[in-house]
């Protein structure tokens, strides 16, 4: 790693940041989340904290801009240079700028958040089918108001779940009109406009009036990019026009002809030869999270590393499962020291946990006898001492047993206590404590009434009462349909009721009756808006519902609001 000459660094640890504007490519909530996660990359390994300001001057001012954007280092159009940031200090120092001629995504193509409709803001599901036709982008088919929409499940005809895609006909961002939609036509400097325009601006951003006369009302907003819009060129925001004619030849899809750099482009009118209107075709885009995490490294005082896998390596490459490289950690800790608080502890022998069940509400009398035999206290098992749970991207399942979080993976499990910040204990062998179980556990829960432990693997489940076990039995015995391949999560709902999650659905199990309640399945995203619809671990912990996808968790409070998104590794596993 490298630091800037003179080891430039902040003289305080409570760093502030402010997001000055947004890209038309991504919704503001996705952008906010990407930046927050990028800061967390650094706050997880240092004593630094990051607080967002909404006005005034922050240490790190974040903005999107194109080409000449107000500093001496202009951007260069699509690709090439993606972003830059300044080392810590006053004024422009510490600021981070992102080239808005790039296509900003989460690194894997368009991420289209929906609004209105009936999908509670879920992401578009591409491809989706509608009346027998497959769609890979938002469409206006089936509508007379020209509003683009998408299905949020694979099959609209079957599921009827949909939302509207970003469109200037639905809302704008920034400006002074509080997100009001464009009004077409509108008058600007005496001319009429039927679509968003860059006229009157020198920063290349498309805007519109939100009343019919800008000259009179001066109300305006910026136009969000549609997922079908071209990037850059001279037709930003317009869709490709297929077919289009280029040098006398007709093209029905994007082409790299005419360019030496191999980039795909299209005409945005019927004839490029006549109109010279064009733009680049949407691609995977660049991960705003990854680029921001890199730039914030600069803003904190790190220069470029020459280690290819380090975050601070100067070139962009997309990684699915990001984790901070040791080189980056050493660099930032050289400047700011390591995170305060207890260090992760190595696996230690387990101790009996007879006093580790604090919630009095959960210890009320039950209508079934408690197991008479104490559960076996597991001892650390030398199954594979090199297995470090802190290096796992995801676990087979996470659940709370006897007040402790249990993390299951490939026949082993680890535990963390809710009462201390000590790191994970383990690995323990599943086969020692629950010998009837297979290696892979998809889901598990402890019935709050009876303290029985339910384990699910594939289409089978087991019930442990102390050392006694029932099962395996088919999950169909519980009333779950034969079509589901596995149960991926469980949330206790009061006493005797448990929600079981699989795919995009959940069912409510009456534990005592051992049957599924009427009215189920229901769609997860309808009831639990804002959490990933493909969560692979769902569990209840300290009054919150947790939905995990890969290394992240979404925490939902009792009002069903997502109040925190964080890393399983740091916040739950306490690595």
């Amino acid at each position: 790693y490298q630091t800037f000459e003179g080891d430039l660094k902040w003289d305080h640890h409570d760093i502030t940041y402010r997001i000055l504007n947004y890209s038309p490519d991504m919704g503001s909530s996705l952008t906010d989340d990407a930046f927050a996660r990028a800061f967390k990359v650094w706050s997880d390994v240092t004593p630094l904290t990051f607080t967002r300001l909404f006005d005034g001057t922050a240490d790190i001012m974040i903005s999107f801009g194109k080409a000449n954007h107000g500093d001496p280092y202009p951007f260069d159009g699509k690709d090439g240079l993606l972003a830059h940031a300044y080392p810590p200090g006053e004024g422009i120092q510490g600021d981070a700028h992102f080239d808005d001629d790039e296509y900003w995504t989460l690194g894997k193509g368009p991420v289209v958040t929906t609004s209105y409709g009936n999908a509670n803001g879920a992401l578009c599901h591409f491809p989706f089918t509608f009346e027998g036709k497959s769609y890979t982008t938002c469409t206006t088919d089936g509508r007379e108001d020209n509003l683009p929409w998408c299905a949020t499940t694979a099959d609209y005809t079957r599921d009827k779940k949909y939302g509207f895609c970003p469109s200037e006909l639905l809302n704008t961002f920034g400006g002074n009109a509080d997100g009001a939609p464009c009004v077409f036509p509108f008058v600007f400097l005496g001319n009429k406009y039927d679509s968003c325009t860059t006229e009157g601006r020198n920063d290349g951003y498309r805007w519109c009036a939100t009343t019919d006369n800008y000259d009179r009302d001066t109300k305006y907003g910026f136009c969000p990019s549609r997922d079908t819009a071209v990037i850059g060129g001279n037709s930003e925001g317009e869709p490709c026009h297929f077919p289009f004619v280029f040098l006398g030849k007709t093209y029905d899809s994007c082409t790299s002809e005419g360019r030496g750099d191999g980039k795909l482009w299209c005409g945005t009118t019927a004839s490029y030869d006549d109109d010279q209107k064009w733009g680049f075709c949407p691609d995977s885009g660049y991960s705003l999270f990854l680029v921001a995490a890199h730039e914030f490294g600069h803003a904190l005082g790190l220069d470029h590393s020459n280690i290819r896998d380090a975050l601070m390596y100067p070139m962009y490459s997309y990684v699915e499962d990001f984790s901070l490289h040791r080189d980056d950690i050493e660099g930032i800790q050289y400047l700011y020291g390591s995170k305060t608080g207890p260090d992760p502890t190595p696996p230690q022998p387990d101790t009996p946990t007879t006093d580790s069940y604090p919630d009095p509400d959960e210890t009320e009398a039950t209508d079934e006898p408690e197991p008479t035999e104490p559960t076996t206290t597991a001892t650390p098992h030398p199954v594979d001492p090199t297995k470090d749970p802190c290096k796992f991207t995801k676990f087979d399942t996470i659940t709370v047993i006897e007040g402790e979080l249990h993390f299951f993976k490939d026949g082993n499990y680890w535990k963390t206590s809710s009462r201390s910040d000590a790191g994970p204990k383990g690995p323990f062998a599943v086969s020692e404590k629950w010998p009837a179980l297979p290696a892979v556990i998809d889901s598990a829960f402890e019935d709050l009434l009876t303290r029985k432990l339910y384990f699910f693997s594939g289409t089978r489940f087991w019930v442990y009462t102390g050392k006694s076990v029932l099962g395996p039995r088919s999950i169909e015995k519980l009333g779950l349909p034969s079509s589901i391949q596995k149960v991926e999560g469980a949330l206790q709902r009061g006493k005797g009721k448990v929600l079981l999650f699989s795919g995009e659905n959940f069912w409510r199990l009456d534990v005592k009756a051992q049957s599924i309640d009427k009215g189920y399945p229901r769609y997860t995203d309808v009831v639990f808006g804002g959490v990933p619809s493909d969560a692979h671990d769902v569990f209840q912990y300290k009054g919150h519902s947790y939905f995990c996808r890969d290394r992240f968790y979404w925490r939902m409070n009792s009002q069903r609001q997502v109040d925190r998104v964080g890393y399983v590794k740091y916040d739950l596993l306490k690595c």
Partner: protein
């Protein structure tokens, strides 16, 4: 047998990136990212030679240090990256 396509390159209006030769790309890259910064010695200043600058860049990027504008080096220069110079000035 089909005839090979004759590609015709055009200048697209609004396209910021201009058609440049490989050497122009390299010189621009080395300059922009600090590899050809001026050296100050005994009161004189001189530019770092292109070969030396290329070697510095190749070392930074983990490429074979040939000092030549070979294909891996040129490919690396065309990859998307951060705009902060690699060599401080």
């Amino acid at each position: 047998w089909s005839l090979p396509l004759k590609s015709v390159f055009v200048t697209f209006p609004g396209d910021i990136i201009k058609n440049m030769t490989d050497m122009e790309v390299a010189e621009s890259y080395l300059d922009k990212y600090g590899y050809t910064k001026k050296e100050f010695r005994s009161g004189f200043q001189s530019m770092v030679s292109t070969s030396k600058a290329l070697k510095m860049m190749q070392r930074q990027m983990g490429l074979e240090e040939t000092g030549e504008l070979d294909k891996p080096t040129l490919d690396a220069m065309k990859r998307p990256r951060c705009g902060v110079p690699d060599v401080a000035n």
